[in-house]
Every structure is written in C-alpha cells, then in structure tokens.
Amino acid sequence: MIEADSLIRTYLLGGQTVRALDGVSLRIQSGEMVAIRGPSGSGKTSLMNILGCLDRPDSGRYILGGEDVSRLTGDRLAEIRCSRIGFVFQNFNLLPRMSALENVELPLLYAGRHEGAQIAAAKAMQIVGLEDRMHHLPSQLSGGQCQRVAIARAIVNDPAIVLADEPTGALDSRTGQEILQLFKALNAEGRTIIVVTHDLGVARHCQREIFLRDGKVTVPDILEQAVPAGVAP
C-alpha cells in the first residue's frame, strides 16, 4: 500500500547540490511495522518527509493507497496528511497552550470533523492510557506522557500510516521501551507503523527494517545488522 519508486530528492546547500535521496524504491504492506534506519546524513529524514507528504520528490513516484501523491501540492498534501498520516516526533511537538485533549482534538478539527471531536479525542487518549490526564497542559506531563499524547494525536484521525521520527530519542530507556510497546500494541490492532531511527535497539522492535546509506536503500554492514526481534543479543 506504500509504493515508492526511484525517489530522488536534491537540496541546494551553499551552492552545492546534495543528493539526499538517490533513487530510493521501497514497498510497505498495510499492517506492517517497519523501521527506516541509517546513520545521520543517510537521507532518512528526507525519505520520511516524502513518505509523510510534507515534501515532494524531485523525480520518482510515490503511491499511497493506490493514489500517486508525488505531484500534489500545498493544500492537497495537507489533506492527505490530515486524513491518512499520523506524525510522532522526537520532541513530541505538542502545542504548549492547549490541554492534552485539545492537542489530540486538533487533527479532527483540521479534518473538518467537528461533530463528536471531543469524544473521539478522549477515546484516543484512552487507547494510549492517559484518560486521567486529559485536561493537563503539556508542561504538566512527563516526557513519556507527552509522547503518549502525541501518539494519541497521531492516531485520532485513524490514519493509514503512523510515521514516528526517533520517537524514543528524547526519553529514558525504560520510558522508551514503554512507548515502543505502545507502538507494537497499535500495530497488533492492524495499524501500519513506520519508525525512523538511527538506533539499532529501536529497529529491533520492528518486523523488518529498511536500511539507508548515502541516499540509497542498502544492506547494513555486519556490525550494524539488527538481530532479529525476539532473540537476545
């Protein structure tokens, strides 16, 4: 259901052209939990931006749920982000002046689903286990709780894909594990989850990984290989 075909994305950096994505092709099935892994500078953020419909490739095709979205512009992309993609960021990115529940409500409102938005948001809060923290401000929540709110916000519109960019990067390892367990639970319910990370430990929780180096999908070196999930290192 995600089909990317020879994506190329170049940036102009200080007069030099940098090829962040150099012909990336990949395929992710509905219901998978996939890690996109690679060292910094490998192009994983560029790939995530395109998969998340925040950006468009210079060339190549990106087909999401049967629709070619690689040539759509501005507000059309916003509609797709709104209805089909949920974002989870490394530093949560909750809006500081709104309560947890209102943060979760926001995607519904942008989608025009005003009717019952509060109930749907409360349900998402329940899924991430924060039903008793709904009216707290982000500043009154711990890091792990904030990330749970962010996940609730990502799933509230019932998107086809949840895209998580280093979701455990700002958390201690125990909380990180809890967040990964939450992702796994969501995946078990049938949601497609893509985790972008440089962390082998995080990638290990996924069913498979797509490894990037220098803007290309490749096989990691022996030392960088993920041990298959479920087996102790």
Binding site: D55, F87, L109
Partner: protein, 401 residues
C-alpha cells in the same frame, strides 16, 4: 468548535505576552480614545450651539461682514460694516430693535484681581434682543452711549471672579487700564459651548470702539423684527439697503451676510461636519500607526511560533487554517485595543463633563466607528503576517529552533 480553540490559543498567546500585547495595542487604544473624545466634544459643543441658536428667537437677523479673499480662499472678515450702516437700518419699517456689536478680549482688573474676559461693546437694545435680564443694578442707556460714559454691565461669572462675595455694583474696574464704573450684574444664562455669556463685560459701543478696542467697523449688527412672518421682507430690505450703501454693482456678490435662525442652524451643522471630519483625520492617522504596531508584533509572533506552525501543518492544517488563526489573533488584539480605547474614551468624556463645564456627548455612532475601525485595522495589518505564516514550508518550520 474550531473557533473556540483558536480563540483560546489566541487569548493564551496574548496573555502570556501581556506587556508586549498592550504596547502593541497602545496605538489603537489612543486612536480610538481620541476618536471617542473628539467626537464627544464636537457633539457636546454642537448640542449647546443648537440650544443657543434655538433660544435666540425666531425673529432675529444677524448681519456680519463678508469673508475676505477670492477664488475660494478665505482670509478673515472684512471690515466694511460700520456704525453708519446700523443707523441707516433704522429706516427699514418692520425693524423693532437694532444693536451694533463689537467684540474683543481685554484684561479686566479690580485691585489685585485680574482676568481676561470678553468685552462687548453694544447698545442697550442688545439686552432686549438677546433677552439678557439684569440681576442687580441697572443697564446702561442710549444716553450713556451718546455721552461715552465709562460704565459696564458684567456677567455673574465675571462678578464672582473679580469681587467674590462682595457687592459688584458701584465698584470700579480697569479695562485695558481705563477705569469703568460697574452699574449692573446680569442674570446667569449658563455656559453655551464656545463662549460663556456669564463671563463678559458689556460696555457702550462708542466707548468700546474708540477707547478700549480701537475699532472703526462693527463685527455684527443684530436686528429684531416685530413679527417672524416679516423676516423675509426685512432680510430683503436690509440686503438692498446695505448693497446700496456699499455701492455694489448688480453683478457683484454681497460683501456681508444676513442670517436668520435657520441659516445659523445650517452653519452650525456644517461646522459640526467639518469637526467630525477632522476627528476622522486624527483617527485614521493614529489607527494607521496602531496598525503598524500590530503588524510588527504579529510578525514577531509568527517568527516565534514558526515551529508551532510546522506542527500544525504536519498534522493537517491547510494554509487557510493557519491564515485564519493568525488573522483572528491580530483582530483580537486590535479589537481588544478598540474596546479598551472605547472604555477610556467614554470615561474621559464623562469625567470632563463631571468636573468641568465642558459639555460632551458620547454617541453610539462614535463607539461603533471606533470598534469597527480598530477591527478593520486588525484585518488589514494582520493579513500580511498571517499570510507569511500560512505560506511557511512545513519542513523548514518544523526544523526551526
């Protein structure tokens, strides 16, 4: 629903930057406050003028010199209305009273007490035409005018200022250094806006023209007809007589004005309109300045909240959602400024009325004008920053530290 959250975020954002918001609103506050106050003052003065004109009677005509200047450029009054003109008007049959009038300002002194008052030089008929009543003492007579007696009838406010609780009659005052004998004090008529009839010194016109003010022409000739129905006839007769006396050719315009009550009311209205326009001018300048202040702060806000804009876009906000958010914040700021301005303006108008004799009248129109303009300013000057926010690239915005 959406609006609820937008308003909540906007209010929270304004509140968390209270000082900055208030400073940005200051221009709008001052602008709206100025509009309310000036319009209240104009309306108050207008109300008084109207009552004054209405009270002067319907069978009164006022002759004044024409405006000097040509080609639409007016430069003060001519000095072509003379005492002889006033005397000649006695020939018009339907005229009951004629009063020549000269006005000026003079230093009025009684020992150490001293004030600047309006000095009126006129004849005894003036008191009848303008229905002044004497409170104490007597009015001066035609004989006083002929004999150039240095006698004065003073208003109650002047009397209070100069003599306090003392008896004013038979005292001596100095007008520009000349001794005058106070023979009477008028009854109070109440303040009438532009000038206070209770604070004036009325002396025979002959003395006023020759000794106190040094004038050869008169400023005004007041005429009272016997009947209101004769007013048009009198007006025509007076105009013809004066044209003849001033030797005007048939094709030249009058070099004087003859106005009745209706003309005066018209004049007051157009005066009111001019002042209202002036107030509008003040308002637009200060609202413009206020608008720039708001635009400035909104640009800062957009920059500060770049990351938030990125997040909103990532979770599905369209450009118009962002535009709306920031536009509402700008309008909220200017609208709040407008409300505060209205509050301050109305308070100042009320305080002025309470503690001084200045008449003010706050109209619903001026409040609506202030609020409407301030909101419009918010939309106009908030649009550019809001559009900048809306057009931010989500990736750049998310990466912004």
């Amino acid at each position: 629903m959406m609006l609820r959250i937008i308003l909540k975020v906007a209010l929270a954002s304004l509140w968390s930057n209270r000082l900055r918001s208030v400073l940005a609103m200051l221009g709008i506050i001052i602008g709206v406050c100025a509009v309310i106050c000036v319009l209240a003052l104009v309306a108050g003065a207008h109300d008084r003028m109207m009552t004054r004109i209405a009270s002067m009677g319907t069978n009164l005509l006022v002759i004044s010199p024409g405006q000097r200047g040509s080609g639409g450029v007016m430069s003060g009054s001519q000095q072509n209305l003379t005492l002889a003109d006033a005397i000649a008007l006695k020939d018009v049959a339907q005229i009951r009273d004629i009063a020549p009038l000269v006005r000026g300002s003079a230093q009025v002194k009684h020992f150490s007490k001293n004030s600047r008052s309006t000095v009126m030089g006129t004849s005894v008929t003036y008191f009848r035409i303008r229905s002044f009543d004497i409170d104490k003492g007597r009015l001066f007579t035609d004989a006083d005018c002929d004999a150039m007696s240095r006698v004065a009838v003073i208003g109650p406010t002047t009397a209070q200022n100069l003599f306090g609780a003392q008896e004013a009659c038979n005292q001596t005052i100095k007008l520009n250094g000349i001794n005058f004998h106070v023979i009477g004090v008028l009854k109070s008529k109440g303040d009438q806006g532009w000038f206070n009839p209770d604070d004036q010194v009325i002396i025979p016109f002959s003395v006023a023209m020759k000794q106190v003010l040094g004038l050869k022409s008169v400023h005004e000739i007041d005429i009272r007809a016997y009947e209101e129905t004769q007013l048009t006839t009198v007006q025509t007769a007076v105009t013809q007589l004066l044209r003849k006396r001033h030797r005007l050719q048939p094709d030249t315009a009058n070099d004087f004005n003859v106005r009745n009550q209706a003309d005066m009311l018209d004049m007051a209205s157009s005066f009111n309109q001019t002042l209202t326009l002036l107030a509008g001018g003040i308002a637009s300048v200060s609202l413009l300045v206020g608008g720039i202040g708001i635009m400035n702060i909104m640009l800062v806000t957009v920059t500060e909240r770049t990351r938030e804009i990125g997040v909103r876009k990532a979770i599905g906000a369209k450009n118009r959602d962002i535009l709306r958010q920031f536009l509402i914040e700008a309008v909220l700021m200017s609208g709040t400024g407008g409300l505060i301005g209205v509050g301050v303006g109305v308070s100042i108008a009320h305080i002025l009325r309470a503690v001084s004799s200045i008449q003010t009248s706050v109209s619903a129109f001026s409040i609506l004008l202030g609020l409407g303009f301030s909101s419009a300013v918010g939309i106009f000057f908030g649009y550019y920053p809001a559009r900048r926010a809306a057009q931010l690239d989500p990736i750049e915005a998310l990466r912004y530290e």
